[in-house]
Symmetry: C2
Subunit: 342 residues, 2 copies
């Protein structure tokens, strides 16, 4: 019975010691060309792959980093992870992904699970989490980078963008187009600093112009289509006609909510943007296939993923020029936002 071949098998066939084989695998330049090719032939002969556990035990490194994201079902994370993974793979690092479903407790637990699996690096989404988690990571000496959010003076290594400023800019533009009755469908803000920052940004813009986002005009809902549609229905049902103060614009916490809102508007027999304007956030593919296409905030998800990978690799290598990375966002105007009708 063919057991899995070991270093020793390879060494035997090549007529060298296991140390040499190990070196061929890890620091080939330290082995003479002649020996190296002999060893490589033996490796090929056995179709040998090193045993992960043995390697991890002896070197105390796994070349694995863990990412804990809210959910894979949101295109933005899928896209960011894809880029992250590709960039890490170039350095021989494997990515392990776990999901928290937007639940802080579950996130903490996933981090512990991954620690148990020996990951030697983390990518985490956003900043809001139990301080104890941060101290644990630091005590263990496991490097990590926070992605997707950024604010001035963030004390941790992070790669992201200013959610608050971007949301503010969007709300300002909506105001500029003449809208005064502005509602918002936000993501769930508990344990989600990005969602909270987006609400704050909209509030900033409105407050600076003497408007207030009161309770009846702000609904938090999970990032799902039906939830967005529900929220829009509630907003519009509360004041079904323009003269009853129906909102003329709905600012949404992300594109998925906005897509849901557009569907609801259509189902109610209203027209966007003629009756109600809608804006999103993220600029996922979805945005351009909607009808009307969606005015939204473009976020460079792929580049963020790549930058996160680079920063994490530097941290692992204990390099010092590990400054945070902040990305610019861009307001993309499409059909779903128009000037307010009188």
């Amino acid at each position: 019975m063919r057991a899995r071949p070991t270093l020793e098998d390879v060494a035997g066939l090549a007529g060298v010691s296991t140390a040499t084989v190990s070196r061929v695998l890890n620091e080939p330049e330290r082995v003479s060309a002649k020996t190296r090719s002999r060893v490589e032939a033996a490796v090929a002969h056995f179709d040998y792959t090193p045993h992960f556990g043995g390697r991890a035990l002896a070197s105390n490194r796994t070349n694995t980093v863990g990412a804990v994201i809210p959910t894979m079902e949101n295109a933005i994370f899928a896209r960011g992870l894809q880029a992250l993974q590709e960039a890490l793979a170039e350095d021989g690092v494997t990515l392990v992904v776990a999901t928290s479903n937007y639940d802080p407790e579950r996130e903490a637990q996933q981090i512990r699970t991954l620690l148990g699996r020996g990951v030697d690096g983390f990518v985490l989404i956003g900043e809001a989490r139990d301080p104890a988690l941060y101290t644990m990571l630091e005590r263990r000496g496991v490097p990590f980078v926070l992605v997707w959010s950024w604010r001035p003076d963030c004390p941790w290594p992070c790669v992201g963008f200013d959610n608050r400023a971007a949301a503010r800019a969007m709300a300002e533009r909506v105001f500029e187009l003449g809208h005064r009755r502005i509602a918002m469908i936000a993501g769930v803000t508990r344990g989600n600093d990005r969602a909270a920052a987006r609400v704050d940004g909209v509030r900033d813009a409105l407050a600076a112009r003497g408007l207030h986002l009161d309770e009846s005009n702000l609904i938090e809902s999970p990032y799902r289509l039906e939830a967005g549609a529900d929220a829009a229905r509630r907003l519009l049902a509360a004041a079904p006609t323009p003269w009853q103060n129906r909102p003329t614009a709905i600012v949404c916490g992300n594109d998925v909510l906005a897509a849901g809102a557009l569907t609801a508007i259509r189902d109610l027999g209203l027209k966007a943007p003629a009756d109600v304007s809608v804006t999103g956030f993220d600029d996922i593919d979805l945005a351009i296939v909607l009808d009307p296409s969606l005015t939204t905030v473009h976020v460079p998800h792929r580049r963020m993923g790549q930058a996160a990978a680079r920063l994490l690799l530097r941290l692992r290598a204990r390099e010092d020029d590990t400054t945070n990375v902040v990305f610019e966002t861009a307001l993309v105007e499409r059909g779903s936002l128009a000037a307010a009708g009188k």
Copy 2:
């Protein structure tokens, strides 16, 4: 400086041997209640987590399964993986995901990488791959399950649905609604049995009715929005008016292509479904927010992921009742498909 605590530290504090601590961790019922609680206290004291490498080396299991999917950016895989991961987690198994970008060579390489990382199980998408890969997996004794495709007499453990039959049913329905000039935008069929099966299914249906899907009416394109839009433009540009034999229906290989096609149709100033009907495949969220909403084939992605997890867990446990699982698909009629105008 606090080094990572080891079994020995815990054993020392609890006043037992490392073997006992190991048992408390792995088979608690074999340890007396008294000792067990003492050990558990020591574990808590040190905040001890077992070293993954040590464990993997000694037990030769990693409790990790690997999945190699084409891309995370396709919602169907994201959704299936999410379910897969949740189901595996219940049994303490971690999922590692790698992507191939629809490239068979890259897939093979990713499989080897994961093998190197000691995964003790695989989830692979579809059936089309180098036979050598299958023999390698079998030789190594690593269980695997194929997901997303199913056909009668598939020789490997698989969990999926009959892509060909589903596509056939869709084409039949299109025909039944009076369409005779039917075009198809398919996914890239090289190395993708699902995409190929969908083309075959459409061919089956048309051939049985005396129609033929000739070259000018079949375009293969990557599963991306713009690619779908491009393809639709080409199909419609070739015969821009009804009396020039413009297709009255475009059957698409998946929903993303269909969404792209709808966008192109809109941009060309045509109306779907009045001028051209469009159908998709997968029934992702996107389908219902499109305008017109998309007639498509519903595939139970989440349930497939769960079923794959269950089957793989059984295979790992060397259980024998490991029969394949086939799911039914359902044709979902929405606005994008209508009777052919005369």
